[in-house]
């Protein structure tokens, strides 16, 4: 019996070994590496020199513009996504005809899995000088600048992350017990108060999951501000690319990356708290 137990354990270990190795070597160790780098110093020729200093963190205000842009546009972008996404998710989950539901859902998922670079490029094409501005010039509106503005970046954000916001909200609305809606109506609630008291409240876990996911991914966004902001709207992602690939100040870049991760963790925790407190329900799974 002991032999077979041992054999079972060996098999389990063998099954988990490759994934464990991968997670340790390419997730845990790299994270420890940037944590160590972030308390180091920049070597004169670029790169890293061992040290124990918080100078890199003290230097964070040097990139205040990038932080400011990200910290404003990420929540605003996530909110804009939410306002567009909620009615769509609501329609898909509660109003759409049954046989259309899966097709419509697939139409939402497909853009999410297609290249963000190509989709952002599409807007670059549309908003660029030979796109909408050229069309508007025909009708006499000249010199309109659309691309390389914060508005263009915001549009790109909503476009890129809308599917990711719709899906978790759809999932939480789909699980909603329809009898609660009837009960609320039977007890004399108006449609509006049923929506606020029942539907919205019970879908809050989905809303918070979508909001925190979109917000976290936006904190690390690079392509959208680069292509649609044209070097005028800098995000933390732009600062990181600059520090790691151009000016080669790795310790400072690591400090920014660690800060970014910490902010993400705070966002996740706060979102989780809010959804459990307001709905009393469990969190919706990320996947």
């Amino acid at each position: 019996m002991r032999g077979s137990l041992l054999r079972k354990n060996i098999l389990t270990a063998l099954l988990l070994a490759p994934a464990t190795l991968w997670l340790v070597v390419f997730l845990v160790l790299p994270f420890i590496a940037i944590a160590i780098f972030s308390v180091g110093e920049r070597a004169p020729e670029g790169g890293y020199q061992a040290a124990l200093t918080f100078a890199q963190y003290a230097n964070l205000p040097a990139r205040a513009t990038a932080f400011w842009n990200t910290m404003v546009l990420a929540p605003v972008g996530a909110l804009a996504c939410l306002f567009v996404a909620y009615p769509v998710a609501y329609y898909l989950a509660l109003r759409a005809p049954q046989r259309w539901r899966l097709i419509l859902l697939a139409l939402i998922v497909i853009p999410f899995w297609t290249s963000l670079l190509m989709r952002t490029y599409a807007w670059m094409y549309i908003l660029g000088g030979r796109g909408i501005p050229a069309l508007l010039a025909y009708v006499g509106i000249e010199d309109l600048r659309l691309i390389n503005t914060p508005g263009a970046v915001l549009l790109g954000i909503v476009y890129g992350y809308l599917p990711l916001m719709i899906l978790p909200i759809y999932v939480s609305l789909e699980r909603l017990d329809r009898r609660l809606l009837e009960a609320s109506a039977d007890l004399g609630a108006t449609p509006l108060s049923t929506f606020i008291g029942v539907t919205l409240r019970l879908s809050l876990p989905g809303v918070m999951t979508g909001f925190s996911l979109v917000m976290i991914l936006l904190l690390g966004e690079y392509l959208i501000p680069t292509l649609l902001g044209g070097g005028k709207v800098f995000f933390i992602g732009n600062a990181l690319v600059d520090l790691f690939l151009q000016s080669r100040n790795w310790p400072f870049g690591s400090a920014i990356a660690i800060t970014l991760v910490l902010v993400s963790v705070v966002v996740l925790i706060v979102a989780n708290r809010i959804s459990t407190r307001l709905s009393g329900a469990r969190r919706v799974d990320l996947i």
């Binding site: 991968w22 769509v88 853009p111 290249s115 050229a134 690079y222 392509l223």
Partner: protein
């Protein structure tokens, strides 16, 4: 509300449709469609740098998705056999691999690998008998590994979901009928999780093929298709890019549809 939903779907698909339309434009400019032509496809596919980048991307996506499918499936099977605490730790790490922004994955992998190579390369050189020892460097391997991290986590989650809805009675029945564990696995478990494994592979491939930001950091001297496209977009928008974008979009739509079809397939009922 229906009008709003229709508008949102139009918002999602019109820009893509425009890019596809203008990839067939005979003229240069986005403001006018001057006639049908496939000249930009010809131009794109006769550009040696682009073809090279495309080949690199296909190789990287295939390899990382295959590795992820194997390791992720193994991990999902293994996780069925461990205690709640190990499982929770694994789930947290897998969740982190999926949620942490690509920019952070990219730079942390870059930093870790460069440090690792700085230790390993002199060591290899001291052991190597000849004057030209192999040197580890950023390239195919590092992109495959970094993409594989996200992909493996994804496959583990998709296959894990399928495993948790697996009909245990069939597994027990198979054991009762004196099938060896291996036979049970091959004839009961594997056919039931196969659609999830295939879907995971396809999504992993799509992810790797489309990823720009992680590869941007760890590619070293290599170029993938998204890196090439990014660089040429920054030099200026040309209709040639519309043609490439159309090919890439069509490929990923096809792969995602295949994946969804695999995931939606019903388990064979006994």
């Amino acid at each position: 509300m229906r009008a709003f939903v229709v508008a949102v779907f139009a918002f999602l698909y019109l820009p893509i449709a425009l890019v596809v339309l203008f990839s067939f434009n005979a003229g240069q400019h986005a403001s006018e469609f001057t006639g049908f032509s496939v000249q930009w496809y010809g131009k794109a596919l006769s550009n040696p740098f682009l073809v090279e980048a495309l080949k690199n991307s296909l190789f990287i996506a295939t390899t990382s998705a295959l590795l992820a499918a194997f390791c992720g499936t193994a991990a999902a099977l293994g996780l069925q056999r461990v205690g709640a605490r190990t499982r929770a730790l694994f789930d947290a790490l897998l969740g982190a691999a999926i949620v942490v922004p690509g920019v952070v994955i990219g730079i942390s992998t870059l930093v870790a690998l460069v440090q690792l190579f700085a230790v390993v390369n002199p060591f290899l050189a001291s052991l190597w008998p000849t004057d030209q020892p192999p040197r580890l460097a950023l390239g195919y391997g590092s992109i495959i590994a970094a993409h594989g991290l996200f992909s493996m986590a994804l496959v583990t989650m998709i296959v894990g979901t399928r495993l948790s809805s697996l009909d245990r009675n069939l597994v027990e029945a198979s054991g009762d009928l004196y099938a060896t564990p291996l036979t049970t696995f091959r004839s009961i478990v594997l056919p039931q999780i196969m659609p999830a494994v295939i879907a995971g592979f396809l999504l992993a491939f799509t992810f790797s093929f489309d990823d720009f930001i992680i590869a941007f950091f760890v590619a070293g001297a290599q170029t993938t298709l998204p890196i090439y496209v990014f660089a040429s977009i920054r030099r200026g928008v040309t209709p040639e890019i519309n043609a490439i974008a159309t090919i890439v979009l069509a490929a990923s739509v096809l792969l995602v549809l295949l994946a969804q079809w695999q995931l939606g397939r019903r388990k064979p009922s006994p």
